[in-house]
C-alpha cells in the first residue's frame, strides 16, 4: 500500500469535510472532478490548494498546474513526489 496515497485520501476527506466518505471509498485512479468520481468542483479545488500547502508545504501558483495535478489521487501523489524531488 502506498502510504502517501492513503494519507492523501485522509487529507482530502478532512480538508473537504467529506466525513461521510472513508479511505476505501476513494480509488487511486478515480477522477476527482468527474461526476461519476468524487464530483468535486472549482470550490473544492481551492481546498486542494490549501491541502497541498498545509500538509505538504507545496505552493501552487499556476492554477493550470492544479488542473493536471488534481485529476486523481494517483496524479496528486505523482505531483507531490515530483515537486519534492525538484
Amino acid at each position: 500500500m502506498d502510504s502517501l496515497k492513503e494519507d492523501l485520501k485522509k487529507q482530502i476527506i478532512e480538508q473537504l469535510n467529506l466525513e461521510d466518505l472513508t479511505v476505501a471509498d476513494i480509488a487511486d485512479d478515480a477522477l476527482l472532478f468527474n461526476d461519476q468520481g468524487l464530483g468535486l468542483d472549482s470550490i473544492d479545488a481551492l481546498e486542494l490548494i490549501v491541502l497541498l500547502e498545509k500538509y505538504h508545504g507545496i505552493q501552487l501558483v499556476n492554477p493550470e498546474e492544479g488542473k493536471e495535478a488534481f485529476k486523481s489521487v494517483d496524479t496528486m501523489a505523482a505531483y507531490i513526489r515530483k515537486r519534492k524531488a525538484a
Partner: protein, 360 residues
C-alpha cells in the same frame, strides 16, 4: 393594480431615501477602506454604516427602517390583521445568536410595532430581496393580505467576509461591476423598506406600480453562475410574459452586477439573449457594496427614486467594457423620463429573480 411606495433606505450613504439619493446624484460611494478587517489582518474595502455598532445591529437597522416607513404611510394599517411584514435576509442576527438568526428579531418586531402577524422571513441568498417583493405583490394580488411591508436587511459580518475571502471573491479595490478590471465583490450592509399595497391612498407620497416577476433556478451549480445565463433568461422572459411587456418597453435595467468575473459575464450573456443589451444599465454595488439579502430591496428603492427624479444614475466603478457581450452601461448621470424599469438578481443556490417598476 399593485402599488409600491414609501421607500426607506438606511445605508452608509444616509438614513432615508432622500439622503441616499443625494449621494447617488453626486456619484458618492459608501465604500471605504477598513484597516485590518480581513481574515489575515488585511485592509479591506467595505460599505459599513459607521454609526452602527455593538450587538443587535440587525434588529436596530430594521427598527429604524420600519419606524421611518411608518411615518410615510397611513399608520393605522400597521397593526391591521390585513397587514403582513416580510423580511428578506441571508444571515440575520447571526452575530447575536447563530442558533436563532431570525425568530427573536421577528418576535421583537411584532411586539414593538404591535403587528397582528409575526413577520415572515425569506432567505434565498442574494435574490432574497427581489423574490420577497414578488411574494409581497402576489400575496396582495391573491387577496391573502391587503398590505405587505417588505424589509430587506443584512449586516456585514466577519463570518461572511471571511467566507468570500476563502472563495477569493473579495475585490482588492472598491468593486467595479462589469468593468474589464473587476476582481470581486465589496461586502456592504444596509436595510431598505417599502410598502406593497392594493390601496393607493395609504401612501403619503404617490406610489409607483409593482409588476411582480418570476424566479428561476439555473440547475447548474450552487455557487458558480451559469455559463449560459439560462436561469436569468427564464426569469426575465416569464416576468415579461406575465405582464405582456416586451424588451422594447424597458427604459432601464438595474442589474445585479456583483463585480465578480463570472457573475457579470453571465449577466451580459443573459441580457444579450434577452435583447436588452442596448438598454441603459447599471449596477448599484459600486455605491452600496453587496448587501446580500438587503440588496434587492435597496436597489429597487433606488430604482423608485430614479423614476421619481427622472434620472439615470452612473454605474459606479465602470470604465472599460469587460464582458464578452457588450452592454450599454451608464457612464454618467443623465436626466431621462423612466416609465418601465427592470430589476434583476442572481445568487448562490442558482437562484434568479426579476421584477418591474412602472411609473403611474
Amino acid at each position: 393594480m399593485i402599488y409600491v411606495g414609501a421607500e426607506v433606505i438606511v445605508s452608509p450613504l444616509g438614513n432615508n431615501a432622500e439622503d441616499n439619493w443625494q449621494a447617488l446624484s453626486a456619484n458618492r460611494s459608501g465604500i471605504a477602506l477598513v484597516p485590518a478587517a480581513g481574515f489575515s489582518g488585511e485592509d479591506i474595502h467595505l460599505a459599513r454604516i459607521g454609526s452602527l455598532a455593538g450587538p443587535l445591529r440587525f434588529q436596530q437597522l430594521i427598527v429604524n427602517a420600519l419606524t421611518a416607513l411608518i411615518s410615510r404611510i397611513d399608520a393605522a394599517i400597521v397593526p391591521s390583521n390585513r397587514t403582513l411584514v416580510l423580511i428578506s435576509s441571508t444571515k440575520g442576527a447571526l452575530d447575536d445568536d447563530m442558533n436563532d438568526q431570525f425568530n427573536a428579531t421577528c418576535a421583537l418586531l411584532q411586539q414593538h410595532f404591535g403587528l397582528a402577524h409575526l413577520p415572515l422571513v425569506i432567505s434565498n441568498a442574494c435574490i432574497s430581496g427581489v423574490l420577497t417583493l414578488n411574494v409581497a405583490a402576489n400575496m396582495v394580488k391573491a387577496g391573502q393580505y391587503e398590505h405587505v411591508i417588505v424589509v430587506g436587511c443584512d449586516v456585514a459580518s466577519d463570518f461572511v467576509l471571511y467566507g468570500f475571502q476563502s472563495l477569493f471573491a473579495v475585490s482588492d479595490k472598491p468593486c467595479a461591476p462589469f468593468d474589464a478590471a473587476r476582481n470581486g465583490i465589496t461586502l456592504g450592509e444596509g436595510c431598505a423598506a417599502v410598502l406593497v399595497s392594493g390601496t393607493g391612498s395609504v401612501f403619503e407620497n404617490a406610489p409607483l406600480e409593482l409588476l411582480a416577476g418570476a424566479s428561476a433556478n439555473d440547475a447548474n451549480h450552487i455557487s458558480g453562475p451559469s455559463r449560459t445565463g439560462e436561469g436569468l433568461v427564464r426569469s426575465v422572459k416569464r416576468t415579461f410574459e406575465t405582464h405582456g411587456v416586451s424588451a422594447d418597453e424597458i427604459d432601464f435595467v438595474c442589474a445585479h452586477g456583483t463585480g465578480t468575473l463570472f457573475n457579470d459575464e453571465m449577466e451580459s450573456i443573459a441580457f444579450d439573449r434577452l435583447s436588452l443589451a442596448d438598454k441603459p444599465l447599471n449596477s448599484l454595488k459600486g455605491y452600496f457594496g453587496h448587501t446580500l439579502g438587503a440588496a434587492g430591496v435597496i436597489e429597487t428603492a433606488v430604482c423608485m427614486q430614479m423614476v421619481r427624479n427622472g434620472m439615470l444614475v452612473r454605474s459606479l466603478g465602470y470604465t472599460d467594457a469587460g464582458t464578452s457581450r457588450p452592454l450599454n452601461i451608464i457612464l454618467k448621470n443623465e436626466p431621462k423620463i423612466l416609465n418601465t424599469i427592470l430589476k434583476t438578481a442572481s445568487g448562490f443556490g442558482g437562484g434568479n429573480a426579476s421584477l418591474m417598476i412602472r411609473n403611474i
